[in-house]
């Protein structure tokens, strides 16, 4: 296939087969894909299963030409094809549907569909286009209103629109990237079951990225499991049950490689969350009636696939987001995440992406380390004037104690590496000997040594009696650090167990909504 052909229709009718051979992709030091090969049969409904960061999205984006794979070969209908750009994939009949919507919200469905065509006439005959689309919709299993602006469609209709557009463009191999994550279970079933009819009729082939076992069992005929960039196996769904899939997904893991921890009974509850409901950025419920206690001297680990409300929960506890209903108590008192309350209750927080969420990037390391205490003595004798020297002295101590690699306390914090920003924020948050520590994905993207050290610090805080809430997408981290494990799914707690008794398969199933 040449770079850009003139083919506006895929070179074949009906469902194609696709084979990805030996895909490798490296991002910096991270091996995102390590020799992954997948064979998708014509007319299959093929699931790609795996945790966050397992390499599912990377694999399909390489196949679609969004990323250039370091190595790998694509066979379409048994014939080798070159795909370096999304356009080439489109011309071969490959289309992708994302978990977020790509239809332009301020345009109508009709306009969106017509615009995405390769060739447009200089003046568009809307009545003819409308007629053509109406005729097309008579052949599709579901329809969407043509003249409604996409912004006014419900989430399920938008996703149907995305899929219909792919069919309208005559794409016969659809890659769905978590297509149902924004849909209700009923909407998801409707969309998936109609797609299933199309694959059964051998009209299209579907590859779907998912972590929901329910959908895999109900709709997919083949499952490929990836873990940490490696191919685990490809099997027919019929030969698998949930336990086997969970084990393939998360692997057999050593539960306890614990950073030296004191044996201690948890004390009184420090953090009590009661019936908390929080909305996300577009106003949908992200946290739903969540109730949770964290006691002194205990680490509670919240496991779960990202996007199940963890971010909104942490933001609410950190004061970055308002709760819709429910309440939060700290030390038995109502907590509204105000600064005086945080100081009084000694609350420390290490949110994810600390450079963005817990630092002022342009300010110096010393200033950032003083963000919790700059208005109190000794940094400020009266709450009005600021004194630099005590701030700098305090920062020097923390830099030494937490081995933050920085040119000096006056260097801007944005110049530090990710691990050192993490250490600097952790130093600030732990220096107050907090009673409650809230930590989200503390080791994301860090190297091995930094990971061990930061985990060590978190366990130390627990050992001296702090209550720790640890939110992490990394199941190993949860298993290694937690005294008690809960799983969040769809904004609710799906699982709760003491870490010593927790069964890994049950955790994996809960993460997948089972």
């Amino acid at each position: 296939m040449t770079a850009i052909g003139v083919a506006h229709f895929p070179p074949h009718e009906g469902a194609p087969s696709l084979e990805l051979l030996g895909f490798c992709k490296r991002f910096g030091s991270l091996m995102a894909l390590d020799d992954v090969s997948v064979k998708v049969k014509a007319g299959a409904f093929h699931a790609l299963l795996g945790e966050n960061g397992a390499g599912k999205s990377t694999l399909v984006k390489c196949a679609m030409g969004y990323y250039a794979a370091d190595q790998g070969q694509i066979l379409l209908n048994g014939r080798e094809v070159e795909i370096h750009r999304p356009r080439q994939a489109h011309e071969l009949g490959l289309g992708m549907v994302y978990q977020h919507f790509t239809l332009v919200p301020n345009m109508t469905v009709l306009e969106n569909f017509v615009l995405s065509r390769d060739q447009l006439p200089a003046v568009i005959d809307w009545s003819a286009e409308r007629r053509a689309l109406k005729t097309f919709f008579e052949t599709t299993p579901f329809t969407v209103p043509l003249d409604t602006p996409v912004a006014d469609l419900a989430a399920g209709q938008k996703q149907k629109g995305e899929i219909l557009r792919q069919l309208y463009l005559k794409r016969n191999l659809l890659i769905l990237d978590e297509p149902t994550s924004v849909l209700t279970p009923d909407e998801a079933d409707e969309v998936l079951s109609t797609l299933k009819e199309l694959t059964d009729a051998k009209q299209i082939t579907i590859i779907t990225i998912t972590h929901k076992f329910r959908e895999v069992n109900a709709f997919c005929d083949t499952v490929t499991v990836l873990r940490r960039g490696k191919l685990i196996d490809t099997k027919p769904t019929a030969e698998l049950d949930n336990d086997m899939m969970a084990e393939m997904m998360v692997g057999r893991r050593e539960n306890r490689t614990v950073v030296e921890r004191n044996v201690r009974e948890p004390g009184k509850p420090v953090l009590q969350v009661e019936g908390l409901c929080v909305a996300d950025n577009v106003g949908q419920r992200a946290v739903e009636q969540l109730t949770l206690d964290v006691r002194a001297g205990e680490i509670v680990g919240i496991a779960g696939v990202s996007g199940n409300g963890q971010r909104e929960l942490v933001e609410t506890l950190a004061g970055q987001r308002h709760a819709e209903s429910g309440r939060v108590l700290v030390h038995g008192e109502l907590y509204r995440a105000t600064r005086p309350e945080m100081i009084r209750h000694k609350i420390a927080c290490l949110p994810e992406e600390p450079l963005r969420n817990a630092c002022v990037a342009e300010m110096s390391v010393a200033e950032n380390m003083a963000l919790r205490s700059f208005d109190q003595p000794p940094a400020s004798p009266d709450g009005i004037r600021l004194r630099r020297s005590p701030m700098r002295a305090a920062a020097r101590k923390l830099i030494d104690a937490y081995r933050v690699k920085t040119p000096g306390p006056d260097a801007p914090i944005k110049g530090l590496s990710g691990g050192n920003v993490q250490r600097a924020v952790l130093a600030r948050e732990l220096s107050s000997e907090g009673d409650l520590l809230i930590v989200a994905n503390p080791c994301f993207g860090l190297d091995f040594a930094a990971v061990a050290e930061i985990r060590g610090r978190i366990v130390q805080a627990r050992n001296r009696g702090a209550a720790v809430l640890l939110v992490s997408e990394d199941l190993d981290e949860i298993l290694q650090l937690s005294d008690r494990i809960v799983v969040m799914f769809d904004g609710k707690l799906a699982f709760e167990a003491m870490a010593a008794q927790a069964e890994i398969g049950a955790i994996g199933r809960a993460m997948a909504g089972h």
Binding site: V104, N106, L115, A122, V123, I124
Partner: protein, 332 residues
């Protein structure tokens, strides 16, 4: 002149005449800005373009004796200023608001500097269509003197509305304004689309300037525009980025601007300056009424005001790295 002939009817009649005269530059600037903003770019410099257009049109008409040549030169000057704005905005991490304000001050200053010799001489003016031939009342005849540019402005507004809706070119402009990622996905060169839209929008504003110096008030001086270009930009938001609504809104602003001369013409001289402030008050009231920090405005182009860290070359796979879409508060 027989003032009592039509009595108080003189006020609405004068407002109608005023609406036609005063609204014309508003129509051109707001339709031009509408086009620019639909492509996803804000050009606040149109006030400067308006003044530059007025100066260059007047100078050209003075030198050549042809007012229409002046209009052409004003359009060309506007085109160049728009292209300059677009060119600067295409550099990475450039904020189009700041650039627009800079160019507004630059163009205004340049017009004052170059326009010094034109303050006294009298250049030939543009003509008008006499629609009041049937009436014997002089006020009616005067009110229905409709200038050619007003007619052109109306045609332009409807033509742009049609083009945005039904032509490939219009759809691509809108797509560039709504979603850079989607535009890239269909192989559009977003920078080029915005360059053209901004330059053409600038040339409309230049024509609006030519109207100021060649028809009404019909001479060149430094207080000619008094912020009409900026008000026209605000008007686009009130008109929800629709060219035809820009036309109606311009007429409304024109009528508001004609209140005080109209009242004066029937002998009401009290509060002249107070009524002169009517368009500005109207701008403020409309902005407060239509904007809210809680929700984003309907019809606002999705990419408006988004600052892109890099030149727009990434594939749509990287959508999650997009800058958040700002509300209309940041768009003004």
């Amino acid at each position: 002149m027989d003032q009592s002939g039509i009595g108080l009817w003189g006020v609405p009649l004068a407002m109608l005449a005023g609406a036609i005269r005063v609204s014309t530059p508003f129509i051109f600037v707001s339709v031009g800005e509408c086009l620019t903003e639909r492509s996803g770019r804000i050009n606040l410099g149109l006030e400067g373009t308006l003044v530059m257009g007025a100066m260059s049109a007047y100078g050209t008409a003075l030198a050549s004796g042809s007012p229409w040549l002046g209009v052409g030169v004003a359009a060309l000057v506007g085109l160049l200023l728009g292209a300059l704005h677009a060119g600067i905005c295409q550099l990475p991490r450039v904020n189009d608001i700041a650039t627009g304000i800079g160019l507004m001050l630059f163009a205004t200053g340049l017009a004052f500097f170059l326009g010094k010799p034109f303050i006294q001489p009298k250049a030939p003016n543009l003509g008008a269509i006499d629609l009041g031939w049937w009436s014997s009342i002089p006020q009616v005849r005067q009110a229905l003197q409709v200038n050619y540019l007003f007619v052109l402005g109306i045609a332009l507004a409807f033509a742009l509305a049609w083009a945005l809706k039904t032509t490939r070119w219009g759809l691509i402009v809108r797509l560039a304004g709504e979603s850079v990622d989607a535009a890239l996905a269909i192989g559009t060169h977003v920078g080029r689309v915005r360059m053209i839209a901004t330059a053409v929008g600038g040339s409309f504003a230049g024509i609006g300037g030519a109207f100021l110096s060649l028809y009404y008030p019909g001479s060149w001086n430094e207080g000619l525009s008094s912020g009409q270009g900026l008000m026209a930009v605000a008007l686009v938001i009130f008109a929800r980025w629709d060219p035809v609504r820009c036309l109606w809104a311009s007429l409304l602003f024109g009528a508001a601007g004609a209140i005080s001369p109209a009242l004066q013409s029937v002998g009401v001289t009290e509060g002249y300056y107070l009524f002169s402030a009517a368009p500005y008050v109207l701008t403020l009231v409309l902005m407060i009424a239509t904007c809210s920090p809680e929700r984003s405005l309907r019809g606002a182009p999705g990419e408006l005001g988004a600052v892109r860290q890099k030149e727009m070359r990434q594939w749509p796979g990287s959508m999650s790295t997009r800058a958040p879409i700002p509300g209309p508060g940041t768009a003004t």
